[in-house]
Symmetry: C2
């Protein structure tokens, strides 16, 4: 068939041309805007801090369409919002700002965080920098660089903190779909392709939506970032530990990860706005990420799974990382208190 063949065509630049086209760039931004959980969270932050934002100077880093800057201009009264965008999208952001009569408050600057020049420092740095498993693609580095150069002493970071959440999980239907079928399909022996069958599980599954009933335990934040104190060098290797108590018997197939971020309030006594991308919240465009172990293990209520996670930033390809998981399944059964260990590393490339 033809479906598989484009990958072997010798003209990769065609895809590049295609994806970099005017409309496609915008389409990607429209798709993010259509993520209401994400966009409404930022809108809520502006609304619930509108009094405190009066006369403040703000920066919206990686502003895309400029939606957050427009919220600031229309729902609060900052003296100035610098909307910073590195891509050619900035050209259209300027048009959108004008179309919405915000050009006196919102100033669109095209450039990378490291390059832009402002007349002075800002009171608030807001950005939507999160990627899959929170850090993937490492836009957070630009945010930290902008913070260190342009945020006033005592200024506000939005998000203010962020966490990567993990849960041990079942993934029965995904596992069956990928593995059981291959035991002897059509009566033939496909074991020479077993490496490819394995490969279904060597990469994390992006865009996974875990059913809450497939969580074998209460999810835990395993890595937490304080956006005021986090340093670029900390990003090279982030470590987390976990101990999960299994609260329902089932099959352990691996771990599912997602993130949540907090926007602390500027108002005295105000509560933080939260954006959670987990299975108990409305799905976002990030969805969740599934890390499959190589071998399913039966687990029972009362068992525990302890271990660690390391996010190792790729030393060469700076937007990529490897997620390493190490775990012990501690059985609570009377006849044998056994312990099964597992370890697996998942490269995260697109």
């Amino acid at each position: 068939g033809a479906t598989e063949e484009d990958t072997s065509m010798p003209d990769p630049w065609q895809d590049e041309e295609y994806f970099d086209s005017y409309g496609t760039l915008q389409k990607l931004h429209l798709e993010m805007l259509a993520d209401r959980s994400r966009t409404e969270a930022y809108r809520q932050v502006i609304i619930s801090n509108s009094a405190s934002l009066k006369d403040k100077v703000m920066m919206d880093l990686g502003c895309g369409t400029g939606i957050i800057s427009l919220f600031c201009a229309q729902l609060a009264q900052p003296s100035m919002v610098y909307a910073v965008e590195a891509s050619s999208m900035a050209e259209y952001t300027k048009k959108l700002v004008k179309q919405n009569n915000c050009e006196e408050v919102v100033s669109v600057l095209q450039g990378r965080a490291e390059e832009i020049e402002l007349p002075g420092q800002v009171d608030v740095l807001v950005s939507e920098w999160m990627g899959n498993c929170l850090l993937f693609e490492f836009m957070v580095e630009s945010v930290l660089l902008a913070r260190d150069r342009w945020l006033k002493e005592g200024g506000v970071m939005w998000p203010s903190s962020a966490a990567l959440t993990l849960v041990p999980c079942q993934a029965d239907s995904y596992f069956s779909e990928k593995m059981h079928f291959w035991e002897r399909p059509y009566g033939l022996d496909f074991t020479p392709l077993s490496l490819a069958q394995q490969e279904f599980f060597t990469k994390p599954k992006f865009s996974y939506l875990i059913d809450p009933t497939d969580c074998l335990s209460t999810p835990c934040d395993v890595i937490q970032l304080d956006m005021y104190t986090l340093q670029v060098k900390d990003l090279e290797e982030m470590h987390g530990h976990f101990q999960f108590w299994i609260d329902r018997s089932g099959t352990f197939h691996g771990f599912t990860a997602w993130f949540n971020v907090d926007f602390k309030s500027m108002e005295p006594g105000g509560t933080a706005v939260q954006l959670d991308t987990g299975p108990h919240s409305r799905p976002t465009h990030w969805k969740q990420t599934l890390f499959m172990s190589d071998r399913p293990v039966s687990v029972h209520e009362g068992d525990s799974i302890s271990g660690s996670i390391v996010l190792h930033r790729n030393p060469v390809w700076r937007r990529h990382m490897t997620v390493s998981l190490h775990w012990n399944i501690n059985s609570s059964s009377k006849d044998a208190s056994s312990c099964q260990a597992g370890t697996k590393s998942f490269p995260m490339w697109r």
Copy 2:
């Protein structure tokens, strides 16, 4: 956010490396094998023609994993099956053939259809060459070249015939998702991005699964291919005409296309095996393709939609094509027998 950023990264070869990797190539083949409708159709062809295949010489062009060749060797008694595969997959195909003890009957040849050399001509040429909208990626050209060079006078082509099917359709939820949201999202004016909003509809939507109740008429085969007489030059521009009678009132949003192929029987009085990828059959990995018009039109039972379709092969990028649709909506209402014309061209790139 980070999700959109990989498209602007200046390292397209990374994706290339990624997709061309050993496991990914195989994974694509495994995913096609997992398409049971497709694979079982070919299996059924071999089973129902097993008597006639005895001592025949066969070619399986673009054999991938070699599944069709293995069916031939295990379910019939051909004297030889040449399994031809241009990609490096051929290396694993050889292992699969050996693993299934078929190496005396199945000979794997790595090479393009134009390049391979056989000791003689073949009685049967079987191939799974179909792509989106039947022709996309034009693997069919290789099949025609192989036929003209290697198929004996009076030999059998599988598929023997093929047809592109079209139906006028509703696509309310897809339309709303893409357009209604953008009328004034979050109270802001996004008209400067309207070109991008339009672009949602300038390309066909691949991997669309139309609900049968969204078909506004009985589907029709608009282009038919006889695999015995079709010529490579015919592929440059394929024309079809249609007249649909609307059998349910609704909103015309565009057309949905898919294909079906026939495998004529070699047995006296035998019936052809069919593979249909439309909405009334079990979904295949091809799914269907949606062509959205720019403007929805209300239609009523008794109205008709007549027009034409042209598949124009790209003169430079030989795997690509443009699908042009022209249509007239002829209203049957008493007060005004109106006619609304529409025309639109859709480039089909990946």
